[in-house]
């Protein structure tokens, strides 16, 4: 019985993957670029969702890790002449290290220390990028070489897509697996009732650190992918202003929901394209939308789906055999 279920699930996922794999067949370069951005945004937002949505810890870290990933890949390719793949691989321990450092400092006493530490962290990293001289190429940034493997060059948006598809799918699957287990339940318990979590033998401090590290690693890898999607990295893309995108995605999707996250990623990524005409209003709209969601639909799209759908829909944090 269980084998059958597992086989059925696998087939479903393979079909989904095959469909996703066909996207480049119907898009032009620009549309493919947007799709690529959606994948990148999903990965970094997933990291923020784990920390903020599930574990309830407020941190301004998503853009910083995006930057760390991008710069790690870029600098290792340009200065150390590593291949893109090695650079991407390097992102994991580097992000992990930064997350550990920031987490050890920030996860203390008042819940606001993490927010403050991560703001300081984000701005400090930016300072480093801008004033790093020849090492970080300063305020104007630098170009990323094209990833290659065995002579095959990923020199188009369509080709880059397949890297994204593989990496994002694998990492998302791992993350979602982790969330649908005692870990996810522990996160939500910490978010909603920290004392009850501790009374259930959950080591709150360690789990918060775990959530932070997951946010860091996912954000870092997303940054590594982002660097080649965009082709050029500059310090301005990884500051406080970028964080609002990720916040919006997580909040709009609904704190603690993957389905909502998928939908909101698409919406928010494509939004600037729709709102392009009224660019000056962008920030006002984003800020206003966040406030409106908090006021009227605090459970985001997920909450709205639950409320208005004809059938029962609930994302369970269990693994059912």
């Amino acid at each position: 019985m269980k084998r059958e279920n597992m086989a059925k699930k696998s087939v479903k996922w393979l079909i989904l993957l095959a469909i996703l794999g066909c996207i480049p067949l119907i898009t032009n370069s620009y549309h493919q670029y947007l799709v690529n951005l959606i994948f990148v945004n999903f990965l970094v937002s997933l990291g923020l969702a784990v920390l903020l949505g599930y574990c309830g810890q407020f941190a301004f870290a998503s853009a910083a890790f995006l930057g760390i990933g991008a710069y790690t890949v870029g600098l290792s390719m340009v200065h150390l002449k590593l291949s893109y793949w090695l650079g991407l691989f390097l992102v994991v321990p580097v992000s992990l290290l930064f997350a550990l450092m920031a987490g050890i400092i920030g996860l203390r006493l008042s819940r606001y220390y993490l927010a403050i530490t991560t703001i300081a962290f984000t701005l400090a990293m930016r300072f480093f990028y801008v004033n790093g001289g020849g090492l970080t190429f300063g305020p104007s940034g630098f170009n990323i070489p094209v990833p290659k493997i065995w002579g095959f060059s990923f020199n188009s948006d369509h080709r880059l897509y397949y890297i994204l598809l593989v990496v994002v799918t694998i990492l998302s699957a791992l993350t979602i697996n982790i969330l649908r287990s005692k870990v996810g339940r522990a996160f939500i318990a910490i978010r909603d009732k920290e004392e009850a979590a501790a009374a259930a033998s959950i080591n709150v401090k360690n789990y918060k650190m775990l959530a932070f590290i997951m946010c860091g690693v996912l954000g870092g890898v997303a940054g590594g992918l982002y660097s080649v999607v965009v082709g050029r990295i500059t310090p301005d893309e990884f500051g406080m202003m970028q964080i609002i995108f990720h916040f919006m995605i997580v909040v709009l999707g609904g704190l603690g929901s993957i389905t909502g996250l998928m939908i909101s990623t698409i919406v928010i990524t494509l939004l600037p394209e729709l709102v392009r005409a009224v660019k000056e209003f962008q920030e006002i709209v984003y800020g206003g939308v966040i406030i409106i969601i908090i006021l009227f639909a605090p459970s985001g799209l997920y909450g709205l789906i639950q409320k208005y759908s004809p059938f029962k829909f609930r994302e369970k944090l269990q693994w059912k055999p």
Binding site: F58, L109, A120, F121, E280, I284, G287, V289, I291, I294
Partner: protein, 286 residues
């Protein structure tokens, strides 16, 4: 030269203190940490600049009008948003303040565009020279204002009913509610006060800092550093922390390396959290 550095640092530091005390007061009375406070300072500065420079309003009148605007904005924020989400999970409240952060920044960018502005100082008198330091009229204005404000705050805190309520709320929010302090008017007035303090800081900082839509970011960072340094949630700590931040920043900027001034705040935050997380005067935990 050292005296100049110290005076200058004290002046900036006093402004940081006003910002930090404004934030901490709100935090103590309502447990809300207003991440958009830096933008509120920025708005105060812009409104003052607009009144004074663009409409030629006299300095004192501009101050009054700016303060009234700030009180109004604070009350509106509380009434329209924060009153309704008072009992929501903390994450939601923090997100709401962040929403305001971006909303105000976008608003400022839209209305005033992005070039920095410089409001004029109070009196156009010659700067005075004291012990090798040059003290401008703006510096004096800041020092006098801070003194008045401190006196005003202490008076409210210790000798009025509102102050009593604030102290009660700071000691125990639940206890305060039990004795009937949890009135909407109280919360509105706290928000209004916090924004008012922010506006004052904006008015004072304008001429010496320059006014532009992005100034909120660096201001709030310094406020956080000041609050962390002095003891998070501690009003006295916020005041002392602010002044120390101003002085340390100036000292570092002059004696070490000018760009380093920017990261003093980060170093202070990290340093305090590593070595003495409760800060100088001790943090209040919520």
């Amino acid at each position: 030269m050292l005296f100049q550095i110290l005076i200058s640092g004290f002046v900036f530091g006093s402004c940081y203190s006003i910002v930090s005390v404004g934030m901490t007061t709100l935090y103590q009375a309502t447990t809300v940490l207003n991440f958009s406070h830096g933008e509120c300072v920025m708005l105060g500065a812009f409104i003052f600049y607009t009144l004074q420079i663009l409409y030629g309003v006299s300095y004192p009148l501009a101050i009054v009008l700016t303060l009234m605007a700030a009180l109004l904005i604070g009350t509106l924020m509380e009434r329209s948003v924060f009153r309704r989400i008072m009992f929501a999970p903390h994450v939601n409240i923090v997100l709401a303040t962040n929403g305001f952060l971006y909303f105000y920044r976008g608003l400022a960018r839209l209305i005033w565009k992005s070039e920095p502005r410089f409001p004029a100082s109070l009196i156009d008198v010659q700067p005075i020279s004291l012990w090798g330091a040059v003290i401008t009229s703006q510096d004096i204005a800041v020092l006098i204002s801070v003194f008045i404000l401190a006196a005003f705050f202490i008076w409210i805190f210790l000798f009025t009913e509102t102050g009593l309520k604030m102290r009660a709320a700071a000691q125990s929010l639940r206890g305060a509610a039990l004795v009937g302090i949890n009135t909407n008017k109280f919360f509105s007035s706290i928000w209004a006060t916090s924004l008012g303090a922010g506006a004052v800081a904006g008015i004072l900082l304008g001429p010496i800092y320059s006014v532009h839509p992005e100034m909120g970011e660096s201001i709030i960072l310094r406020a956080f550093a000041a609050m962390t340094l002095g003891g998070f949630g501690n009003i006295g700590g916020a005041a002392i922390g602010g002044i120390l931040m101003g002085i340390v920043e100036n000292v570092v900027g002059y004696y070490f390396w000018s760009p380093l001034k920017e990261i003093v705040a980060y170093i202070v935050i990290v340093g305090v959290l590593i070595f003495k997380p409760t800060g100088i005067l001790g943090a209040k935990k919520f």
